[in-house]
Amino acid sequence: MWYYVDPYLLPLFGLTGVRGLDGLIGTFLLALFVVVIGEFTISLVFRANRKHLDKLNSNLKKYSDLSQEALRRGDETSYKALNKQANDAYGHVFFNKFGLSAAALWPIFFALDWMQPHFAESGISIPFYPSGAHYVVVFLICYILARIVFGRLKRHLPYFKGQYEMLRSYDQEGRPPGDGKR
């Protein structure tokens, strides 16, 4: 399956000709590619599910506000019932976020599947470890670095900029953009 991909990916592991650097640069670029694919998938899934996610967040806010009102009026029975509803709504929001995050992680395993036949035996030469480090460890370290780099870059990138703003508003407010103030 990876036969057709090799001509595109293998050159990434020989950009400088310096043993020790090539492996690291190649793995980092592959990890960056994986991060971009993951973020792109998130954006698609998010767009497809936005209406549903908005509804879940609105439900959460609605039940939270209602239970607060019940508390103010001293109606303990209603408060408990509404609180349970808000708790359930939180569960739904949480699992949707789990789905979104899984959308970002799946390309990692296809990248490791490509790396396995190429680097499982020889390892990847990196600075201070020229004899070859385990490909999974090198990839995971590069993946974390790539996520940090992309996290800083995406707010300036045309497609991902809008996505970044939208997700940030969800993270900060736990509700759809424009649906009330903090």
């Binding site: 939270s64 239970s67 976020k97 789990f98 789905g99 995050s101 899984a102 799946w106 390309p107 480090a133």
Partner: protein
Amino acid sequence: MKQTGSFRKWSLILLVVSAFAWAGANSLWAQTPPAAPAQPPAPAEQKPAEAKPKLVGSDLGLPAKLGVEIAKAPEGKGKGQIDTTAPRGVFGVPGAPQPSSILIFLWAVWVGWVFSTVGAFGGIMAGVGHMTVYGLGDYVRTFRDTAPGLNKTLTDSIRTSNQFLVGLSSIVSVVNYLKSKRMSWPLGLALGAGSIVGAYLAASLTGGKVSFSQYQGWFGVFVLVVGFVLIYELTPKGQAGKKAAKAASQAFEKTVKEKADIESAGVTLKSFSITKSTMTFFGTDFSFNPIAAFFGGVVIAAISAFIGVGGGFLYVPYLTSIVGLPMFVVAGTSALAVLISMITSITTYINVAGAGMDWALVGTQLVGVFIGSMVGPRTAKYIPEKWLKLLFIVLALYVGIGYFSRGFFGRSWVPM
């Protein structure tokens, strides 16, 4: 407050790094040398009357211990033999089952659906997928007598694949709970340290030593236990037990709704000693013994690593009933312990026990899991919760009895 946040971050980093380190940093970094071709038996050992089957004699390019055990397996087209000319299947083994990507994907959608509706039972369904639906169990079992080492190594690969799917959800959970400050750090650190020890011991002591039948039998026992827990939860006594935890959760909800300072509303450490740690959560003190938490982590992580599951099903009752914490904090703390034990056992299985991984299999399953977890919350609302629990009780008893009998007695007591 910022210092506390920094301490928490560094504590988490320290725990994760410790998990890697404990799991055998040297073996993790260093490359396993290519498997040496299997040596033909010494002439003196050969019995002239018996025709020894020809061995594969090469690792066939497969990594680590998997390659070593493949080289020792008999070559041929029969059961319990490696057909070196056959197309490569799961884990890159020639002649191994090649479940179609559609089947893998669809089963993973179901697993994701279960994760998002019933929770822990998703892990059981992931195991059923590997062992039964994809046909790996029947294939691995054929090597029981012909190549016991390969049988055990492939069993480790199945255990590790199970853990990947279950553990990935804990990564996401930990991040979410960290953001919402639903984490008890002193308890998380004590449990996490115990988890590292337990998961490492279980994976290193049992890796390469458990046959598939034994594993299937124990998995069956685990599924039966989960089934009985589900039955208990439906009883009036089980329902009443949840009320105490709900009370503290409501206190949290109340404070959030009154727009109190959420930053100060999380769990705060009041005092800490090696035998007693006290934390405050919404004005109520909770005390626990860090040593007891450590050994709790050791036992739970060891069981989880052996079975190849996350362990949340054990951490949660442990934290609520023994430590007495409210569910709002338990969810996050148990997710952290699951993550630590998962990292430890997976790295140990791969590096110390030499389990091979089929990354594409995990990747395809993950795509299915995220689609299933999207579909789950939307569709589950059409099925009453009680019906859903009854369905999973029936499934748990069926799978549990089937695996238990097949694993320990050689034949299934229910059609499988």
